[in-house]
Amino acid sequence: MLVLVLALDTATAACAVALAELTESDRAPRESTAGAVPGRDEPAAPGVHVWPRGSVVTVDARRHGELLAPSMRTVLDDAGARPSDLAAVVVGAGPGPFTGLRVGMVTAAAFADALEIPVYGVCSLDGIGAATTGAVAVVTDARRREVYWACYDDGVRVGEPAVGRPAEVAAALRDRGVTGVAGPGLALYPAAFAEFTSVAVPASDGGLSAPEAGYPRPELLVGLAGADLLAGRPPHPLVPLYLRRPDATEPHAPKPVRA
């Protein structure tokens, strides 16, 4: 069985789109055309192999809304694929800054709805964590002097993602025996995470110096949904991981008017 999947993530400053083929075995899909990027040598999950077919990742926190749809078009065109070839959409459901996150979530939901295919939400931090080994934490920018974070053990997430102040998060990581930290939150708060090894996660093409290195890799998200997808298990409803309530205060009684 071979399925073509579009993955996207807008939970960080990177607007990330990837196309990938999923197979149950480690045999390259016959239909794979020249130009297909070599797949991972390890299965993404037991019986799940991901064969990347191209990606567009642009680091520009303010332009997700503009860039996402054209990036999807480019990724499909470059692979000679049409939207109707897709079997599913996978989207990073956060946590991430709200406006960018929503662009990805509603785009994935609408795109899948238009094609009448399922859409699977996965944790965006896993798009970084899945590329790590050992006891590593992923930290990303949550704005307001906080970070989103989650812990990984050999690439598999342990527990739920959370949000907190860098110093408090560092203390929590210490308690859990985490040794390394990855993700764009690290460069924002180097002092808070100074005691941990900086874990560099390469970009999809293997480069460490590309601007998108260290951001979620959308093709890794495909692997995370892969088992459900290949088994034909229907996705859970899409729920954005905001991890914070909306800012809103109830008004006081109307102010008296001075004459």
């Binding site: 332009r63 809304g65 503009e66 860039l67 996402l68 749809a69 054209p70 999807m72 078009r73 939207p83 709200f98 406006t99 929503r102 662009v103 979530m105 509603v106 785009t107 994935a108 939901a109 609408a110 795109f111 709805d113 238009a114 094609l115 009448e116 954005p240 905001y242 909306p246 800012d247 809103a248 205060t249 109830e250 008004p251 109307p254 008296p256 008017v257 004459a259």
Partner: protein, 361 residues
């Protein structure tokens, strides 16, 4: 295949998406005919805050958008694959909320391989009742009265011509004034409909609230409502033990607003020798505004057009109608990197035109 009799000229099914404030609206229109619609509102979630909270509105749009599309399609008996073009409010409005609709519209357009039209929300209001009636007269004077805008416009061909502002509000919009005064007078949220309800059957001449900018030397088409709000608040504060029924105070306030709106609109029609007036936007749902506008237009020999009340407040039909109008007039689609434009100024119906098309226009 059955033989076709006569020319079968049918345009594409245009899906309109509106998310500029707290309403998620979706509708399907083809050749001026409404095929299906759906509307979801987060109004109840904002009530305790006394106004729309942008983050709450945006979260609600994300949850409601696809279900609204499905429900609109179901009511039309269509599938997504039947959609031939997408129109979306690109601005103005709440940035957080606009982003959701624009992203969804681009996703549907990309997935279906159909053209995308970004439209101006206020131009959408102007197109609100195209599915219920005749094409719009050209030219016409338009009075837009909503929660965020109050403008008098000269409109030609809505799909093609630039829209000319004759005058706008210097401060609060008419709807904003209704909402703020409602709060001062202790009426529930949202204020406009509450004022409308409470004023029914009451004496609108009980109090003479000011008619701002109606002096002989004032700008003829310019509005100002913040002073009126202050006048009502001051009066209420100075008369805590009044025997005047609250409904009379409310009716008198409402009369001041609709008196100014209609007087200036009629004046604009007369000055420009245009016999057609279109009144749109959320405040156009106000029963007294509708009554007074009808009466004054009849007296002045002006044809009045006001959409049905449910089409005055934000909805998807108005966006689909405008998209359908653009498609039928041969407009070029908007650029594929269409952005949300929270502060978009109204000078034409379409937003996000690609550069060459803009220059050719």
């Amino acid at each position: 295949m059955p033989a076709q009799h006569g020319p079968m000229v049918t345009g594409p099914v245009v899906m309109g998406i509106e998310t500029s404030c707290d309403e998620t609206g979706v509708a399907l229109v083809r050749d001026g005919e409404l095929l299906g619609e759906a509307l979801s509102t987060s109004m109840d979630q904002h009530a305790r805050y006394g106004g729309v909270v942008p983050e709450i509105a945006a979260r609600a749009h994300v949850q409601a958008l696809v279900p609204c599309v499905r429900s609109a399609l179901a009511s039309a008996g269509l599938r997504a694959a039947d959609i031939g073009a997408i129109a979306v409010t690109a601005g103005p409005g709440l940035a957080t909320a606009l982003h959701v609709g624009v992203a969804a519209a681009k996703a549907y357009a990309t997935a279906l391989g159909v053209p995308l039209y970004g439209v101006h929300h206020l131009a959408g209001h102007l197109a609100a009742d195209l599915v219920d009636g005749e094409p719009l007269p050209d030219p016409l004077i338009a009075l837009i009265v909503s929660g965020g805008h109050t403008s008098l416009l000269r409109v030609g061909d809505l799909a093609r011509d630039p829209i000319v502002h004759l005058g706008d509000t210097l401060d609060d919009a008419a709807g904003e004034c209704f909402d703020k005064v409602a709060r001062v007078l202790g009426l529930p949220y949202p204020g406009g409909p509450a004022v409308d309800r409470e004023a029914v059957g009451h004496d609108r001449t009980a109090l003479a609230f000011p008619r701002p900018l109606t002096g002989r030397t004032d700008a003829a088409y310019t509005f100002s409502f913040s002073g009126l709000k202050t006048a009502v608040a001051r009066w209420a504060e100075a008369h805590p033990d009044t025997t005047i029924p609250p409904g009379d105070v409310i009716a008198s306030f409402q009369e001041a607003v609709v008196d100014v709106l209609t007087a200036k609109a009629i004046r604009a029609c007369r000055d420009h020798a245009i016999d057609d007036l279109l009144v749109v936007g959320g405040v156009a749902a106000n029963s007294r505004l509708r009554e007074l506008a009808a009466q004054r237009c009849a007296d002045a020999g002006i044809r009045l057009r006001i959409p049905a009340r449910r089409r005055c407040t934000d909805n998807g039909v108005m966006i689909a109608s405008l998209g359908d109008l653009l498609v039928r007039s041969g407009a070029a689609p908007s650029a594929p990197d269409l952005a949300a434009m929270p502060g978009a100024f109204l000078d034409r119906a379409q937003l996000g035109l690609p550069e060459p098309a803009l220059h050719a226009a």
